[in-house]
């Protein structure tokens, strides 16, 4: 029996202009899963991710993290949760421009506050090496390639040893090779037990997950359960492709 790590119950998201994105949407994310959200453009994939991570508010409904409601938490408690329990990887790397890669990662570690500063620095170096950017730690984001920056962004998301990693189109701005490398890193993390919730419109990226949710018209239309990813296989890709075709994607 899988443990629920994140749960959205009766989520409703409407806009002041009158539009409505979700109407009573339920979503469950399991601990240790690599969950992927797919759907057509404008379906609200990123919004769902931001709502579930507490970065955006819901009009009604509840979000629970490890069984505790987080929707009504104070700004301070929510910031603490983001620092200690959540990690984020964005499409645009969104590294702070005047901090080096090392500092971008270390600051997130300092904020998490799980280790003393010295230990955070050691961990930062280790993580950057693991992500393959150990040699670029003293460079600014503008001085490295998009792939290197994204790998540093993953390191930043991981430094606090988060309960769940949110990834919003992490390969959307990368070339094919860099995309593969980033996906390999994410898959590797998941294989070591890291829960991941990723939004993507890339079928190959989606195939890295073991659970794919299809979002359309404000509701989860269907889901595909796959075995945990071990290595690239045509069979897995075709299964995902066939499933998406059945949803007229």
């Amino acid at each position: 029996m899988k443990k629920v790590i994140l749960e959205g119950i009766g989520l409703c998201k409407s806009f002041p202009s009158g539009g409505e994105l979700f109407r009573s949407l339920d979503a469950i994310i399991y601990d240790g899963d690599f969950t992927v959200v797919m759907g057509p453009s404008g379906a609200g994939k990123s919004t769902l991710l931001y709502v579930l991570s507490g970065m955006d508010s819901v009009t009604s409904g509840t979000v629970k993290y490890r069984g505790q409601p987080i929707s009504g938490l104070s700004e301070k408690r929510m910031a603490e949760l983001r620092a200690k329990e959540f990690g984020f990887v964005f499409q645009q790397t969104h590294l702070v421009g005047n901090l080096t890669l090392f500092e971008n990662v270390a600051v997130a570690g300092y904020l998490a506050g799980k280790e003393p500063p010295k230990a955070v620095q050691i961990q930062t170096e280790k993580l950057l090496r693991q992500m393959g950017v150990g040699g670029a730690g003293d460079r600014l984001p503008s001085q490295v390639s998009g792939g290197e920056a994204q790998r540093a962004a993953i390191a930043r998301a991981m430094i606090g040893v988060p309960g769940i990693l949110f990834a919003d189109e992490p390969t959307g701005a990368l070339n094919r090779q860099n995309s593969q490398e980033v996906l390999n890193l994410l898959t590797g993390l998941n294989q070591r037990g890291q829960s991941i919730l990723m939004v993507t419109h890339d079928m190959r990226a989606a195939a890295r997950g073991n659970r794919i949710l299809y979002l359309e018209d404000g509701e989860i239309l269907d889901q595909l359960d796959l075995p945990p990813y071990e290595k690239a296989s045509r069979e897995r890709d075709e299964r995902v492709s066939g499933w998406l075709s059945s949803l007229q994607w």
Binding site: M55, R82, P117, K118
Partner: protein
Amino acid sequence: MEFKTLLLANLRRHRSGLMGISLLIFLVSLALSSVLTLWGNSSSYLGSELERAGYGTITAWTSGNTGSLLEEITALGAVERVSEQKIIHTNYSLNGQESDSEGQLILYQPEERRYRFFTGDLSGYGNPPGEIQPGTVWVSPSLVSMFGAALGDEITFPIARSGQNLTLTIAGWYEDPFMGSSMIGMKGFLISEADRQNALEILESAGIDALARDGSMLHIFAAEGGLTAADLSAEINASTSLPKFAEFVHSRETIFGFMLVLQNSFGGFLLAFAAVLLLASMAVLGHQIGSGLRQDRRNMGILKTMGLSSKGLRTVQLAQYLAAILPAMVLGLMLAPAVSAAARDMTLATTGIRVPSSLPLGLCLLALSLMLAALVIFLLWQLNKLRHVTPLDAIRGEADGMPVPVKGLPAISGSCLNGSLALRQLITGWGQYLGAVLVAALLVFFASLVGRMDCWLGPDGQGMMDAFNPADHDLGVQSFGDLTREDFEKIIQQYSGITDTYLLAMPSVTVNGVDHTANVTDQPERFHLLAGQPCTGENEIVITEFVAEDFGVGIGGTLSIGASQCIGEYTVSGIYSCANDMGATIGMSREGYLKIGSDHPNLWCWHYFLDDPSQKGDIAGALEAAYGGDVHVHENTWPGLLGIIAAMGALTAFLYGMAALFILVVTAMTSGKLLAAEQRDLAVCRAMGFTAGKLRLTFALRFGMAAAVGAITGTVLAAILADPLVSAAMRLAGISSFTSAPGPAEVLFPGTAIVILFFAFGWLTAGRIQKVRMTILAAD
């Protein structure tokens, strides 16, 4: 057409920044125009009022039976005419406080129309009284600041011993163009004919017990195209019996100096402050132009590809800034009369004159034109950067993409995350904070300058008193009767031990024929000597720097000094400081003076140093209670000092108020741009777990740090330049020896205050961080 379109678009796009510039320029224009209004009107108004009051080229205050003196002076070829005003010289006390200087009971003659009268609440001018009722007196409003006077208060004038006083009730206020200012201890009191006769009868019957003296003010007018005031004074002294009767003589210029010393010195400082604000505005303007160009660089590149020249772009930019500057300048100019009227009304009880608030349009327009010219030159210089915008570079955004190297910068510290992050932001974006640094440096420099003056003045005005007094003391006691030193000291020692004593007299003398005051002492080594030796020899004198300049003599030179007995030659042994009579004083030894002047026990004032100076107020009260009008007691203070200390306090409060307003505008302008540019980074930081409060703190810290850099610069500059600059300004008031010795708290206060203000306003304007939405980071 494209000019109008682009101008309107730019005005819309940069409206908040331009409004900030407008506000700063408005404050500068308002401050400048208000000071010029007050300053410009002061001297012209005082001139016309001295004319109305009948003051001549020189005015001599005489006492005793002057016999044919009036005719003697009138007969001189250098004199056009002489007019006489009857007065009685007398001490006075009000609200339990005795004046340090004598007052003059002036007979009010309504037909002469010499004076203007205020309404009871001092809100404006009232009708002159048809006559002054016996038992009442009209006084200068400066008695309000000096003695806390109010209508209905009684003033006691000791006319003769044994309590033969004249007690008059204040019935109204009048404008005295000579003795009206609280800077002048001597005061004029308008009285009725009946009270004057009453006082004269007391004097006549009192004989040697008289404490007051009958006398006159002789207004002497030089013949047209005739002598200068100094030469006229010298000729009259040489050719008539005036020196025998004159208590003191002042030229019209000296009276101007006395009356306007407050307006001029404070006006000068406010003018300097307006200049500082202008420089600060230019710093902000430079920053605004820089950031505006960065913001518009891409658009400008596009406009250039469309055929617009650098000159065309520059014209649009210039017009955009002038559209913000010109209305602000005009508005400041228009509001200046109201502000100067408010300032005048607030200071009426100190200055004693109600200076008109009509705008000296020519002067203000000249000043504002110069200011505008300086701003236009600055704008053109700054906008010259437009020449370097090439269409392709701008569209590619190459200049914007240059990363700021971080090697060698302080690392981000886990234990001081907020501070180290703020420092990094500040260093890597230093161009954004340059305006704040410059504004902080300028404001701290000026605040330090005023702080040093405040420090010199001290909470009780000790610095000012030391500058005016020729020598230090705690208490001065002068006998007007047969009382002896032993009589005073018996009472003094009931309160405090006496550590030291010396004698001082202040008789009138002539220096090369021109009237001056001599400070005569039995211990010349006590004079505040700036250079040379004390005048211990009987043929030696010390002179102020002003006397040295006036007569072109230095140490070793000689001057002819005349007193009631004869004239003698004296060698200048040293330069000393004494700002009395605008510095027109000399110092002599007792032996030196007695060679030319006559001695009298009542000439001398005993100056005491006390074991416990805090007792001097009680001692003064006890002496006055015991001996009444037979003794004159003064502490090392004078009532006008309270007005100066209050004015200094008001100046400091005004300065910090304006500084706060300036800082608020600068911070709001800078933070508006920074927050707009940093939306994404702020959202990322919040996603990483920063609270909005922490980000706000970091943001405010950047301003605090930028201000700290400016504050250190301003403090260092003040340490080097403040004393020489203030010295130069103080010389206008006759004070030649300004040196401040501020303690660490006084040195650090202006910088700390400015840093706190920047930090606080940074915090205030960063409230928008709370509204930064993390959803801007979303992919779709």
